[in-house]
Subunit: 353 residues, 4 copies
């Protein structure tokens, strides 16, 4: 395989750290630059002792972010920056011919209006919104292969979109009344020195937040609307739980079909199973659980896998779908590397299994 | 105040331990007997080193459970036994004139049919189902004061019923489509040597279980049906999270009123606030959160308080209500002591604040 | 009992919060003022939702710290301030006639030289060092009863001094070669927004710190030197572990007596047991474990108890003593209240059991 | 590289699971059989959903352990069995020509007497004790390359021996008075359904155990005696802390040289640094920390690395050495794979970085 030179801007946060780990061990990607204003001058080994056994971490030093320099050295640049800051880097990098894989929310929406509604300021480069590809490989594989600007999905959206899109596309569930109840580990809040995320404030605690209008709703609803071909409004409640990593999402969905009798239920179950088998039966990173198994974050943490299980409830007429993923891998950096593999013509699982 | 002699049957589990703690420190209850097959012969101090500073724990020894003996010594007997076993003790204790406060599910339902449906065997004493009082003081205070047999509510039901009953009674929400999504600490599973509850299997893990028909649904639905005066079917999903104690429940409810305009929303919000203020504004153990505050289990663990907050979502037309409680206190032993206080004519908060 | 008006300066940290809790529930102390620069204007209920059920928390508001105001309203003032800041408040409060119970390290040493050596600046009020009483009730009970300025011991020192002082005083161990290896929960680091104490940096982590010369060594060594009547130098290694609360200390001590034979060992064991029984057999807050039991922080967290167990190792000739305490209770706020009880003439266990 | 067929006996525990993970991803090892009485008939994917993305886990099924069958299919057999059971399998496997890498304690001692002393029964195959090689590659690399029976070291011993052996061999520390204070994650207790290891019994708890004569002392003392060329007796205290994985050991050692002056201290520090640099400067799996860094289990968990740091304490005349490792990797399965690499002629880091 032909290798590619890659760089990471903003590599000192949790998703940046996970990207470093994945790219250091990637068989075809060659990590040539990492940037961090705070860590500039330090080696990767100094900042991330955990990776110090990898020979490259002794030599590679963090540098100040500089688009011109990055464009000279790297063919693909990952942006692991806060929302709003990423766009500033993406514009010159794209102009200089780099492929940009952005882990922030800056290019995830197609609609600049929705961006303004949820992020409370005008989008800095609305023309790029049309050119960016939403980096969910199971849904946009072909587009990703051709993309120059990839907007890698958020952690919550991935856990919600993967279970829901195939059902909506197949017309098996109603677009109305979708509820997503999610629990996330604390790394989702980033490496920020805030009282709310101190050990003693999170340990032995569980709490909802961002109710009822979390920013991630914008990309969730836009993507589900594309799948349903009409506007979809979602009820979404995130909760913070005391684990480092992992998102567990429970979805409450309404099947189009009634299923009060055993026959109706069996028929509907068959259709749902077939829908998921068709969508994900051959996907390397979606695991359809069988039998009595239900998702558990401990079975996906450290992997790029999203686990799925579902149950029909004849008492309520609802379909319950549950998913589990590692918010830093399939919910962020692993998925970004999956896109890198696709656009580079490498095996999709390279460096991810 | 006149004191009362009390005993605990099955005092070596987690809710039994919490009961011991509460009753040792209670100003008017006199703990005279504790039973446990496994710990018979040991002192309270030996089994629960944490309480060893209390002088009574040096002398009081676990004994084999024996209804006759208990009835001789105690006026009120708490049953902290597995479901099914509690009824066997309740029957002779009641016959001998004791007041029984049962923490199991054995007497929580009025309908023997529903019992059979959810517990898969016939109820051993269906006539007692009519005599028992559901021990949720905020709803059945007057009945508890007169009761001889109290069926203390389950932990999940408490976290769901307190937020929902006033809204149903006031006709503010539809009885249809109620969804309760709950997260519980591991003590809810009891002190049982099972692989699923080992530290390494729970730590860094979050997982749903009992989907879609958990046994607690029976008492939830029966109580909500009483409040709504028609049958209520609930969607309920419990999750296990890595904390020792605490339940966080997020409820998805449908207001009867539309509220698309700002005026409609303000009007509805006013009604909900008034409803809760009327129901709980003077309750010592329900805390209505104001402003931006949302429930957090760390603010209720170790207390008998259930925290409540709610949000109207004009985008979806739903009402989101969130509650937090300590599953072993307001969800079990504290609530049982609250009933003891009521039926003994003591201040309701005695030993609980 | 006669009540006393008390105040807390710096009540928004973890030990301040624990003091608030203890004093709210204290039968004879009347909490009349709490200060915090950051929280001034807020009620106790707003800052600590967990205590909101207590009626006083609705009315009592944080105020800016002001020694004059405090002296007007309170007879006893607790200082829960950072080291160095406490002395500034203590001086005017003492001058105004208040009793001061200081939880910081500012007045724990008798030697101003040792203070300078360990804290790297001159002591601001060296004359007060002679007047202050080291607030370890099991050792300085009589002095505490008469004190106007109490230097409440640190958390690590308490866990080390209680097991060691009686043995040194009895001449049962050598003053040389004492090693204390301690593990502390994260609340010991205070409520500070620093990266090192984020959930994701502490969870699934254990690490030593402050090796080899931690500041707490100064008071440990001074107190042990008093007990041994000659200079004692201690090896002390603290470790940070992922629990909210609790300190476990393992001490490696060298008995004066040889004990290679079974008889020698039995004789020495008898002396140690007698020494501890004499020192602590009647102490309400020291628990001497018997049989096979070893200390466990979960048996002391939330209590003012220090658990002790010991083992003679005939293979090495050493005595191993292990202690467990809650760093915020017996290691800080509970111990301070124990001193309050003593100097107020109240039962020593008031508000602490 | 030539591949080798390998098998795991007892693959359903925590170290067995880690071995499965490492061998599935190993570039040259071909995992052909896994045994487990409890899981016989199940695929690897069913028992370990976390590895289900690896194609081999769909086909490979657990079988009943059977030495004859294993010898037919595998060239190297790993034993991840309880102490005592491993020897029963090792004997026929060796006779059948397999190489055996035993993760239990059964062949770690050279002295059958010491085995009897610590394990309270006669060794079942004392003649094999002389033939086995202690599988600590940094110390016995050459012997491992030629071995047919490897006794892979225990987790605590690895964390103690690596820091201590070079110092003893170089005569830099006294063989007397060595103290090892260790903290281990709960996976060290194995996947056993016992009350002591339930989540609620371990979370928010820290406790010593096995004081003062833990079984691991036998191999620690034997190996240190070899290094010192005279009998070494060690004080060892293990503690259980609430993390899944990781061991942190703090060692208290006495340098042979005095170092009261700054010059003496600098000279000694230079010798220690040189000793460690010579022993481990080129080792891929020992990380010598520089500057202010101290070991932290979170920097080694999931890796085969043992981190080391040390400090001289001029106040006490002691050398403090701290180490951190993953008890399931460098402390068990990773180290066993390191031995596999050596005896197979593969790069020592194959499958481990």
């Amino acid at each position: 395989m032909k290798t590619k030179k890659v760089a990471i801007v903003g590599a000192s946060g949790y998703s940046g750290e996970e990207l470093v780990k994945l790219l250091l061990h990637h068989p075809f990607a060659d990590l040539v630059a990492v940037t961090s204003r705070q860590q500039a001058g330090q080696t990767l080994a100094q900042v991330f002792p955990k990776f110090a056994s990898h020979p490259k971490t002794q030599a590679l030093r963090f540098v100040e972010p500089n688009a011109e320099m990055l464009a000279q050295h790297a063919e693909v640049v990952f942006l692991a920056l806060p929302h709003g800051v990423a766009a500033e880097f993406a514009i010159p990098l794209l102009a200089a011919g780099c492929v940009v894989i952005d882990l922030s929310a800056d290019f995830r929406l197609k609609s600049a209006e929705m961006y303004q509604d949820f992020y409370a300021h005008a989008h800095p480069a609305p023309e790029l919104l049309q050119k960016s590809v939403y980096g969910l490989p199971e849904i946009y594989r072909d587009e990703i292969k051709q993309a120059r600007l990839i907007a890698s999905p958020g952690c919550y959206p991935t856990s919600i979109l993967l279970p829901t899109i195939p059902l909506l596309k197949a017309g098996l569930i109603k677009p109305e009344g979708i509820i997503a109840d999610s629990m996330s580990g604390v790394s989702g809040a980033g490496r920020k020195a805030e009282l709310d995320y101190l050990f003693c404030e999170c340990n032995e605690s569980v709490r909802p937040y961002g109710v009822p209008k979390h920013r991630h709703l914008s990309e969730i609803e836009e993507q589900l609307s594309f799948a349903a071909r009409r506007p979809v409004v979602v009820q979404f409640t995130p909760h913070l739980i005391p684990v480092n990593r992992g998102i567990l999402t429970t979805l409450y969905l309404s099947p189009e079909a009634h299923f009060s009798s055993a026959e109706e239920m069996a028929a509907l179950a068959g259709k749902i199973a077939a829908c998921y088998a068709s969508a994900y039966g051959h996907e390397p990173f979606v695991r359809l659980l069988a039998g009595k198994a239900l998702p558990d974050t401990k079975n996906v943490v450290g992997t790029n896998v999203c686990e799925l299980a579902w149950r029909l409830d004849p008492r309520t007429g609802r379909l319950i779908v549950m998913s589990a993923e590692d918010n830093l891998v399939k919910g962020a950096s692993g998925q970004a590397v999956q896109s890198l593999n696709l656009l580079s013509g490498w095996p999709e699982t390279a460096g991810l299994i």
